[in-house]
Assembly symmetry: D2
Homo-oligomer: 349 residues x 4
Amino acid sequence: MFFASDNAGPAHPKVMDALIRANDGYRSGYGADAEMAEVTALIRDAFEAPEAAVFLVATGTAANSILLATMSNPWDTIFCADVAHIHEDECNAPEFYSGAKLTLVPTQIAKMSPDALQAAIAAEEERGVHGPQRGPVSVTQVTEKGTLYSVAELQALTSIAHEFGCKVHLDGARFTNALVALGCTPAEMSWKAGIDAVSFGGTKNGLLGVEACVIFDPKLAWEFALRRKRGGHLFSKHRFLSAQMLAYLTDDLWLDLARTANARMTQLAAGLQDNDRAELLYPAQANMTFTRFPRRDHKRLLDAGAHYYIWDGDVETGDPDALLTARLVTDWSTTPEAVDAFLTHLRQT
Amino acid sequence: MFFASDNAGPAHPKVMDALIRANDGYRSGYGADAEMAEVTALIRDAFEAPEAAVFLVATGTAANSILLATMSNPWDTIFCADVAHIHEDECNAPEFYSGAKLTLVPTQIAKMSPDALQAAIAAEEERGVHGPQRGPVSVTQVTEKGTLYSVAELQALTSIAHEFGCKVHLDGARFTNALVALGCTPAEMSWKAGIDAVSFGGTKNGLLGVEACVIFDPKLAWEFALRRKRGGHLFSKHRFLSAQMLAYLTDDLWLDLARTANARMTQLAAGLQDNDRAELLYPAQANMTFTRFPRRDHKRLLDAGAHYYIWDGDVETGDPDALLTARLVTDWSTTPEAVDAFLTHLRQT
Amino acid sequence: MFFASDNAGPAHPKVMDALIRANDGYRSGYGADAEMAEVTALIRDAFEAPEAAVFLVATGTAANSILLATMSNPWDTIFCADVAHIHEDECNAPEFYSGAKLTLVPTQIAKMSPDALQAAIAAEEERGVHGPQRGPVSVTQVTEKGTLYSVAELQALTSIAHEFGCKVHLDGARFTNALVALGCTPAEMSWKAGIDAVSFGGTKNGLLGVEACVIFDPKLAWEFALRRKRGGHLFSKHRFLSAQMLAYLTDDLWLDLARTANARMTQLAAGLQDNDRAELLYPAQANMTFTRFPRRDHKRLLDAGAHYYIWDGDVETGDPDALLTARLVTDWSTTPEAVDAFLTHLRQT
Amino acid sequence: MFFASDNAGPAHPKVMDALIRANDGYRSGYGADAEMAEVTALIRDAFEAPEAAVFLVATGTAANSILLATMSNPWDTIFCADVAHIHEDECNAPEFYSGAKLTLVPTQIAKMSPDALQAAIAAEEERGVHGPQRGPVSVTQVTEKGTLYSVAELQALTSIAHEFGCKVHLDGARFTNALVALGCTPAEMSWKAGIDAVSFGGTKNGLLGVEACVIFDPKLAWEFALRRKRGGHLFSKHRFLSAQMLAYLTDDLWLDLARTANARMTQLAAGLQDNDRAELLYPAQANMTFTRFPRRDHKRLLDAGAHYYIWDGDVETGDPDALLTARLVTDWSTTPEAVDAFLTHLRQT
């Protein structure tokens, strides 16, 4: 009953096998390994983007920060959701790499509306050098609350951004969970929808620690490469990143893992909806949800060995009926049995 | 016959096994894994430093840059060898992380003499706010030319640094190769010799990509932790870093691997010295050497499948007697047979 | 009829005289001039802070940015009003100097309430290294809307900040206008109210371009001095900054100039309140106000030669009854006649 | 007998008069003053560069740092003389603004030779992302030792830089002293000789504190403007910078002041050469020289009230024959009588 995070579970055995296979003999370092050439070809193919620049880094914070730095200037402001990971969870890394600041766009169910984005960008009125300049927009898909932008919604946001001359970054730490939920292609969820660069996550979906940075304008490639090295994110034994991503992209593993994680969430959300004492706070559209239930139920789950984060509410309070908000995340390794067990313990009286 | 770099060879099988073992079930992320607690204990034990702060990162550039940033101020200058990796090979990462600049100390066989260091620090005379302020000294062991500082030499350098109030960082990307060559303890080669913090390398000695940052003053730990996160170098699935380092430190694997690499270099250097046409440019004290031999010999080695970097000399020139400088590096996976083959091909006429 | 800004009017003649007097013979540079010693003594005396560190810079952005950088760490967030000058008008300078980010506290009439500040700081819950850390609070007095915090209100804000271990900076670009309006002492409006450092403005109150940075904890002085130099804000011919500030502090010139500016605003605000078609948007407590009146009145004022900024509303619209928001600022050089003329033109039909 | 620095003397009375004249009524701020339009026109005219972008800042460190940041990338290295002001005297400001590092080119009499520059740039061999990339070259004219590059020498340096694709910055804190010494035009000493941007100094030649930044490629103007604001170097009451520069450029004042300063140095150097006990260390080609004489002579000069800096040698030593190195600088306000008095006291026995 582990629902704490999709970075708490194991890597997929095929990924481990690929690591073992890659650990064979000598290889050129720093991204010149043969595996990386394959990764680049596969990603370009998957995204229908034969010119795209592809780079690997080992953390999502690195992917987001180096991409945003490459897309912005130090005197810019970057527009993002008020609950965005780049704002709340990266300890100023995007600002460190880019020099830019962040402008927070109000959200509902963690999603920026076109109007809210329009208003935020327009509010950075053109006052010469006094205020920050308009920089890129960063959109998160799957959002921080487990919700999704439809392709049309993404398109609406990028249209506004591009009207103002702003590029658009997609924080896709859970890109594949969104992709299989929407049932669209990577191209449809990225450049065809106006996205200029993607943090294409792997770590939360079965890898040990690899994210691909996909940049559709290859003219930005060299700057990204230099910023990656200057940030200390270029691996000498790069093959061990490439091998993970290669396994991920082989035989639809990435899609299968995300489908499994999402299916577990569907099962879990259905069970929560059947439970009178639990409330789903947002549509559970991918592999994460936030739900509210009484403290007494939480205690019982804890006693039964469940793991998850309490996002809101006083777990120490004496009132067993007090409501707590829990975040629940599934990953490829979550079993149907674990979901059932969770739901059973939650429902018990 | 692979002598290009100690980051071109494979990771040790025991390390791969440890990764597989760590890939079991759910684990807390971001360094709170149980393996990391073991790593910290083992490193403190190995360094006889029960209070030391220990952090893992995945690249040597990250280790050096975050440590130096933690030890300096943005208005400082960092003193280092004129051939130091932090100066030549990290694309301004140390400056990016610290804001400080580098002052290059002249070297012989890649080593700073106490006099040269003294002169460099003293030359940053106290002129109030106009010039940069005196920051930390960074010493590299094994040096960039494969030579070693004795413990007494390290002590001499740190004494000078401390006289001026400067802390000392050790870039130990090849720490263990130096350690077994000198036959001293980690404590003797670090804090007992006046070193304040160590980049304790693993990547070049059999790991996939892990370096430990060891800080003897625990008061700096929190700042390091924040700087690591702000640089995007904190891993969510941290267990996969811990597991590598844990295997490294278990059953003397780290020492055994370094001894093997050094033994191959001893064999190789002996063969080079027996060869009239080859010249060793520096004492080959650990697992790296620079040697000069005629272009004709280089061509023959290439044809035979040898891999190594030419550091100096025109490989395209027509003169078969022209001398080239080659860098040769051994690692734990280098075989005695490969060394013999190299020497045989080199000597052939 | 110039009400565009208190940085659009002339410097006071006594200040020009002081410049001329200072332009006499040779003087040590970089702040070692005799005038600076006098300035330091006078400011310490005025603030009843015999240990305070005092530095001069030439722009308000420099004063705010260097002070905030000295009071924070690169991984912090700085709490400020959502309309603060450091957020809206300094082109990322505070972020550039400090590395920190800004957290915007909601305001009413440009003032943070204790509750809003408390909520903002508390929301930066302690989540280890993931989010930014709690940095200093920056309070603006006179606020961006021409309103004032009472001393008790300042005290309430600083108490909350200090509870969380946060230092407090006062952006006092219009410090003296606030001081004479409140009728308190500099100490009462700064350190006695819990302020740790002040940007003590001169430029908007009769100087050519000088702001004093007053730091009550002298242990921060050396860091400030280095940051000032590193930012290029240390003047070689520093006497010309000192002379301005010296004239400012002599014979109560600073207080007289602010009283005059405020008196003109009192006159102007009274006239606006007597005018049925004009609305004062905020209490006009110092030397700035925002007022709303019909576009037809604006056109008439423009034709009559009035200068001021339209903050909101479409000046191009065809409807003469459409309301515009104007910002009106007085300074020491504003004449009662200019105010009368403005009011007369505004009221005309 | 003040020879300490050309920033220790007074501003020229015509400059003070211009300040007084500019202090008249209301003016737009932030560079939109009418005086600035005149300054831009005059500088474009003087440099025969009708498209040049012109900006004013108040310190030489700001001028150099913001220009170099505008001309470079954070992953570059900037090539400069090993004794350059940007290296020795600006407390890391160029690095702070640009993110780049500095590569020191060896000099003789403070001048880089074409060969030395060529070697330094070439040594940054193209190794992909590992090392810093080749950034701009910064040349100082007048040099830090009071020597000059001829126009042909400047041309030789810029040719090498441009071959490698590097832009060239001229640190012209003493631009006009060099100009009148060489007897060439501003265009000949700048863009016609391959210079891309100039820090055109005024502070050391009779102003209170103004430097013009002249950028021959107007496409860089907007970036410079943003960097200036982000650094806190945009003045609200900008007219007081403009007025100084306007007076400077009117009726050849800039040229007259530099000619006077240089003439005093000619007189001083001639007297030093006539003195057996004094040695000129470098050709005194503009308004600064370094000379060596016995400590006993120094003591006599001090007693007579002379002011200058001792650059080298132990002023505390007991030996009256010990040689000290003094730096002597003249400015527009130095009188022939002061030079004579200095020479007389020096020669006395």
